[in-house]
């Protein structure tokens, strides 16, 4: 099929096919991991991100590409997980901004929209790194835009885009030394190429037959509601969960300069007394989530600014029974207003319990190959009633999704701590102390604890490779210290000894905490502690049963 122009319908088909093609190949993308550790998740993350967008528009029968694009973009934004997922969501956000207000576009207009995608994605990353999905997308876009004209077809645009994307992808190895050393191409770039390949496949008449995995989408799922949860004598206690999409009207407000804070202030005001407010503005579209006892007032007030596109009002006494997972239900049950609340990403039963004991209010499940999405964080924020929420992402690849959620959520002041490991979080939490009631000081103490701790990890190599001048054999134990490979041995305890010995200024360190994983036996733990006592007598030490997967040991050395 040759398309001269692209409308909502065909754009939806293209992106869906792109998502399906990634779904077919995501495992391969997962395996493109610099470290030979079984935590590769880029393919999974990107897949879930784009699928969340595609699922959002699945039932939408919309011919105008601008309107469709907006829905796609917001679906991806909320579904974004992992750094590559967040960047992908920002790419599409930019593209869809460029498509906004249009019914259909030709190749040149599409190219312009793609350029906005470049701008948006680069803008969303604090320090853009070349040799990643950013470079692949940028060069592919620049190349395609340079070679098309008003006569070009959509097919030509995507073929050119793909041609350069493939070329740049190969070249990522030359741009990023870590990729070169590990002899892999960039995984995010590879994931993106699969999406474009899927798009081109569709244009070539090859529509992929595949059911995309459905994210649990609360707004679309029609779970049976148990009306008995709110009887004739019940008093409205939780209020109504009120969600709506408002189209700002130019007759009522100046759309471009309209500040979403106006709406947040009204929802927070005495009349409505809303809480758990999430309000987003994208051009003339405003999406709002608010809990209130008087939804009628919300609807009245909001018509000062625009007209409703959709409205959903649910009695939360019913909703409570339906949509919350266990954690959330538990969190809500004990909902007390707090000045400070802590959200931490963790995996492993023992670690989760320990973190809760330390005062973490909400644990976001962060299994190794399933990074939480922006929406998962927003769900965590919504379940808490706090003025300030402090977030520990505990993984480099989760920080962006956490930050994106922090930007989207308006119900509390949110601070995302730059914590990239469980030991860092552990160390910061042991120093948790809100008694100063001084946020700057509290954050300063957390950051100081994180700076002061050395994070060690011991796991099993998933392939033969050489890194940091160290030869690694598949199934050997490898030791990683603050993201750097320092040891590779046949024996776990040897590996631990090498790992600890490699720590810089070890003689200045005082405390070691061993967090053993589900694959470390009681015997392993005993041997490890014996080793520490005999070889590193100046360290005060203790052990925690973390029960984490993948990592036999985490070590925090402070």
């Amino acid at each position: 099929m040759v398309l001269k122009t692209l409308n909502g319908e065909s754009f939806k088909a293209l992106v869906s096919n792109g998502a399906k093609n990634l779904r077919l190949n995501y495992e391969e993308v997962d395996n493109l991991n610099v470290f030979p550790v079984p935590d590769g998740d880029t393919g999974t993350n990107m897949c879930r991100t784009i699928e969340n967008g595609v699922n959002t528009i699945a039932k939408l029968d919309e011919k105008r590409i601008g309107v469709l694009g907006k829905e796609l973009s917001s679906g991806m934004l909320l579904g974004a997980r992992g750094n590559s997922g967040v960047i992908l969501s920002q790419i599409f956000r930019g593209i869809c901004k460029g498509l906004s207000g249009k019914s259909e576009v030709n190749a040149v207009e599409l190219g312009e929209a793609y350029k906005l995608g470049v701008k948006q994605a680069y803008g969303a990353v604090v320090t853009p790194v070349e040799g990643t999905i950013l470079t692949v997308f940028r060069e592919a876009t620049e190349y395609a835009c340079k070679h098309i004209n008003e006569e070009s077809t959509i097919n030509e645009f995507y073929e050119l885009h793909l041609k350069q994307a493939l070329k740049t992808l190969k070249n990522t190895k030359e741009l990023l030394p870590v990729l070169k050393e590990a002899d892999v191409i960039d995984s995010g770039g590879a994931g993106y190429v699969y999406i474009v390949k899927g798009i081109v496949r569709y244009l070539d008449g090859d529509e992929i037959e595949l059911e995309l995995s459905k994210e649990e989408d609360s707004s679309n799922s029609a779970a049976p509601i148990d009306f008995s949860a709110f009887g004739p004598d019940d008093v409205i206690q939780f209020g109504y969960c009120t969600e709506f999409i408002l189209r700002l009207q130019s007759s009522k407000v100046d759309i471009d300069s309209f500040d979403i804070q106006t709406i947040i202030d009204v929802l927070n005001g005495d009349d409505i007394k809303g809480d758990s407010i999430v309000a987003l503005k994208d051009d003339s579209i405003v999406k709002v989530h608010v809990h209130t006892k008087d939804p009628g007032k919300v609807l009245d007030h909001m018509r000062d600014y625009g007209e409703f596109l959709t409205i959903k009002v649910e009695n939360m006494a019913l909703q409570h029974n339906e949509q919350m997972d266990e954690d959330e239900r538990e969190a809500k049950k004990q909902k007390v207003h707090k000045k400070y609340a802590v959200v931490a990403v963790a995996q492993g039963k023992g670690i989760k319990e320990q973190f809760k004991e330390f005062g973490v209010d909400y644990i976001v499940d962060g299994a190794q190959t399933m990074n939480p999405s922006t929406e998962d964080f927003i769900r965590a924020f919504k379940s808490l009633d706090a003025d300030n929420i402090i977030v520990f992402p505990n993984n480099k690849n989760i920080i962006m999704a956490a930050k994106q959620a922090a930007k989207l959520y308006k119900g509390a002041h949110i601070e995302v701590i730059y914590s990239t490991s469980i030991p860092q979080c552990y160390s910061a939490l042991t120093m948790l102390d809100f008694s100063s009631d001084d946020l700057t000081l509290i954050l300063g103490n957390f950051n100081e604890a994180i700076r002061n701790v050395v994070s060690g990890e011991i796991t099993i190599a998933t392939r033969d490779t050489e890194l940091n001048g160290i030869k690694i054999h598949k199934n050997d134990f490898i030791g990683i210290v603050d993201g750097k490979l320092v040891a590779s041995t046949k024996d776990k305890i040897d590996c631990l000894e090498k790992l600890i010995s490699s720590v810089k200024d070890l003689e200045d360190k005082q405390v070691l905490t061993l967090i053993n994983g589900e694959d470390a036996t009681e015997k392993d733990r005993e041997k490890a502690l014996e080793l520490i006592a005999s070889k590193f007598p100046h360290l005060e030490y203790g052990a925690i049963d973390g029960e984490q997967s993948v990592y036999h040991f985490f070590v925090a050395i402070e």
């Binding site: 320990q354 004991e357 042991t430 948790l432 102390d433 008694s435 005082q510 005060e540």
Partner: protein, 302 residues
């Protein structure tokens, strides 16, 4: 014989030598524990360590034995106070902080109901120092100096009532176990938790509680932080003695602490005494407290 008897109690950390040199008496509190056979041992909380040595006492605490402490009894007050009243002396009693021990309340009642009636010609003043250990101890020493200089009893007492919060404590413990077992330090539950290597810094707050004001990771960091806190609040160090009470600290820890203090703050002198059995019994082996005159303490633990 001095006209004024200066009296402390078991928390004042004054050694026999210091008490002799300054002519200071003290009222004994009581400590008890279960020995290895499970038998209850009860003895006076003596600052002469004649029943159990300082080292054995803190080793016992470190081994997990819980020591129960009890306030000064009426009998003991009768014994000590009357010894001086009968000898014709007036009394200045600087007690353990009222937030840590009810001893001072009992003493006040006894003075009002008993001693003032039995000895109408004697003057008795009681000072609640809102402090303990060598903060209380150094007040006692200073009280003797003032008395020797001819200051009147009521003037000495009012001096300490006015200046008691300028006596600062900065202390840290080696290990949280004794502290948690005894439960005598104010801090939220989350403050302690199950923490390896976390060292609280304890001050004597403005109402006389031992309050864990902050925590540090690692012994050395805690010791260095203590020095920093001394530096931040000390006033005229060159005119005063810095007192350290220690509970069988590792020599290298004391060396580090003293070395750092000498490096940072020009005290006239630094003196070390063994920490007494009452406060030490709740904070455990390795506790080290630093006592000096500084800015008025305003913090109240929550």
């Amino acid at each position: 014989m001095n006209k004024i008897a200066i009296i402390g109690d078991s928390t004042c950390d004054l050694t026999p030598e210091l008490r002799k040199e300054y002519d200071i008496d003290y009222c004994r509190m009581i400590i008890s524990w279960r020995d290895k056979e499970g038998k209850e041992v009860e003895t006076f909380a003596s600052l002469d360590w004649e029943v159990i040595s300082h080292k054995d006492y803190f080793d016992m605490l470190a081994s997990g034995v819980r020591v129960i402490t009890a306030q000064v009894t009426e009998q003991e007050y009768d014994l000590v106070f009357k010894r001086h009243l009968d000898a014709g002396q007036d009394i200045l009693y600087i007690s353990c902080s009222s937030a840590l021990s009810a001893s001072v309340k009992l003493a006040e009642r006894l003075v009002k109901e008993k001693y003032s009636k039995e000895y109408p010609d004697r003057k008795i003043a009681i000072v609640d120092p809102l402090n303990s250990c060598m903060a209380q101890g150094s007040m006692l020493l200073k009280a003797r100096e003032m008395a020797n200089a001819g200051t009147k009893l009521e003037d000495i007492a009012s001096y300490f009532m006015e200046h008691r919060l300028e006596y600062n404590q900065v202390a840290t413990v080696e290990n949280l176990d004794t502290l948690k077992r005894a439960g005598r330090v104010k801090a939220s539950k989350a403050f302690f938790g199950n923490l390896f290597g976390v060292k609280p810094i304890l001050i004597s707050d403005a109402i006389g509680n031992n309050y864990a004001i902050e925590k540090q990771k690692g012994r050395r960091n805690a010791l260095l932080r203590c020095v920093q806190m001394v530096k931040e609040s000390v006033v005229k160090p060159e005119e005063q003695t810095l007192w350290i009470s220690e509970a069988e600290c590792k020599p290298e820890d004391l060396d580090l602490l003293i070395g750092k203090i000498k490096e940072e703050i020009p005290f006239k002198e630094i003196r070390v005494v063994p920490m007494g059995p009452i406060i030490g019994g709740t904070t455990g082996k390795g506790t080290v407290g630093i006592y000096f005159v500084g800015k008025k303490v305003e913090v109240i633990g929550n």
